[in-house]
């Protein structure tokens, strides 16, 4: 249960900004898996950092909290499999991509290709639209997403 563990997955500067931001201090203090789910249900956008001072989004704060709590895979799979809350699903997918093993990542995340709901993504130029399947495609194929460099996974053909 330490913030140092999160440094394995997030960049140092981003992590520093997360720890200093208001949402982290006000809403993420002393969260539990249950209460974290409540916060995740309130989410209304995804994204990394935004604005001139590169403020971290609530989405990224919750991801760090999940890393800090070391939420097990079985629970994140439940995050991913729920169909009512798309932002909880995105949060779970992102966390699973950071922490899971390559084969499990492909098995779990490829199911979400069939989801064509809309997500709001917060970037430097304000909001933009992204579909869930596009987000999953970004997670599986690009090296970085939401201002964090994702851990390497081999290509799908080689597994």
């Amino acid at each position: 249960m330490s913030i140092k563990f999160a440094q394995k997955f997030l960049e140092k500067i981003v992590l520093h900004k997360i720890v200093e931001c208001r949402y982290w201090k006000e809403h993420c203090f002393g969260l539990d898996t249950k209460t974290l789910l409540e916060k995740a249900m309130e989410l209304d956008h995804i994204g990394g950092t935004y604005g001139g001072i590169r403020k971290p989004t609530n989405f990224l704060c919750l991801v760090t909290k999940m890393i800090e709590l070391k939420i097990p895979k079985e629970i994140t799979v439940e995050f991913i499999r729920n169909e009512d809350f798309k932002y909880v699903r995105a949060l779970g997918a992102f966390y699973y991509r950071l922490i899971g093993e390559p084969i499990d990542i492909y098995i779990e995340l490829e199911k979400l290709y069939s989801d064509f709901r809309r997500l709001k993504k917060l970037t430097d130029n304000g909001y933009s639209l992204i579909y869930v399947d596009e987000f999953i495609d970004e997670l599986l194929h690009s090296e970085s997403s939401c201002d964090t460099s994702l851990p390497r996974i081999p290509k799908r053909i080689r597994i």
Binding site: N58, R117, R118, L122, L129, K155
Partner: protein, 325 residues
């Protein structure tokens, strides 16, 4: 004779006044200069002198008033413009989005994520296109990967000679074509191409920079040798034309030339083939062997004489034994 010193303002047109007024913000030095430009001293005799009438004074006052009003009007217009631009910026900020009291990011809903508002069938068709594109991309990756594996297998079965032959055909590896070097003019100036913005389609950026310019085109080898240097006649003038001019490795003069048997810069074998080199080496070895044999014979003869001399000219070729006392 007494003269009165008097300044009289010299005004050519109304436009000048305005420009003079608008310059009032600039430095004091500029103001003095402009004063001297606009005033001109005129000397008058005592008889011609007369005090300005009341009407003239009134006229001057009126003019000053008019100028003041003009200045104020201009200022008002400027202020209005500034306010308008500020308001526009604020509007933009509202559209772009900002933070509310709780520190959450808020923006007018240009992008709506509520799926109930959209037609599900249209959304599904959009998704179908995306999905098909994804599948296509995946298949292409698969085929390219398989092709690569096959190529690697085929290549691993081949001999080295076969590999070389194939390389020669396809011009890969050793046989890859190198770019032909451009011939530069004698003493042409080198200009470095920048690094940034090279990807642009701008025709000016993609020009050949190493081409000779007007000053490089004419034949500089016709000049006297003193003038054949960089920056002739300037402070940064150098003594040297170029490096190869100073290079003494292949010079005929014994002082500077390197020895013939130098393995770094072999002089004699410079243009020969490998076979000739081997032949030369074999011949050299034979000559050396011959010389060694001759030397051995010479030594034998010398020793003969030595023994004979020691023995006192007996003619015996055996080695002298130790004395027996």
């Amino acid at each position: 004779m007494e003269f009165e010193f008097k300044f009289e303002q010299k005004i050519e047109s109304e436009n000048e006044i305005i420009s003079y007024d608008s310059d009032s913000d600039s430095d004091s030095d500029d103001e003095k200069n402009s004063l001297f430009k606009n005033f001109k001293p005129i000397f008058k005799k005592k008889e011609e002198r007369q005090q300005p009438s009341i009407e003239e004074i009134e006229k001057q006052e009126e003019e000053e008033l008019r100028r003041k009003q003009e200045r104020e009007n201009e200022r008002k217009i400027e202020v209005q413009k500034q306010v308008e631009s500020l308001l526009e910026a604020e509007d933009l900020r509202e559209k772009k989005g900002g933070e509310d009291e709780n520190g959450n990011y808020q923006q007018e809903n240009f992008f709506i994520d509520k799926d109930e508002l959209f037609n599900q069938e249209e959304e599904k068709e959009k998704w179908k296109i995306r999905e098909l594109l994804r599948i296509k991309k995946e298949k292409e990756e698969e085929t390219s990967y398989k092709r690569e594996q096959l190529e690697i297998k085929r290549r691993r079965k081949m001999n080295e000679e076969e590999k070389l032959k194939e390389d020669e055909k396809l011009e890969i590896g050793k046989f890859a074509k190198q770019k032909e070097k451009q011939k530069w003019a004698f003493l042409q100036v080198y200009r470095h191409k920048g690094v940034f913005f090279q990807d642009e389609d701008n025709p000016i950026i993609q020009r050949d920079i190493s081409a000779p310019t007007e000053r490089d085109i004419f034949d500089k080898s016709l000049l006297p040798k003193v003038l054949q240097v960089k920056n002739m006649g300037k402070k940064g003038r150098s003594k040297w034309t170029h490096l190869t001019d100073q290079d003494t490795t292949y010079l005929k003069d014994e002082k500077y030339s390197i020895q013939e048997n130098n393995f770094l810069f072999p002089k004699s074998n410079k243009n020969d083939n490998l076979e000739n080199q081997f032949k030369n080496q074999i011949e050299n070895q034979k000559e050396k062997e011959k010389e060694e044999e001759e030397e051995k014979e010479k030594k034998k003869i010398q020793q003969k004489y030595l023994y004979n001399y020691r023995r006192g000219g007996d003619g015996n070729l055996e080695k002298p034994s130790k004395r027996k006392n």
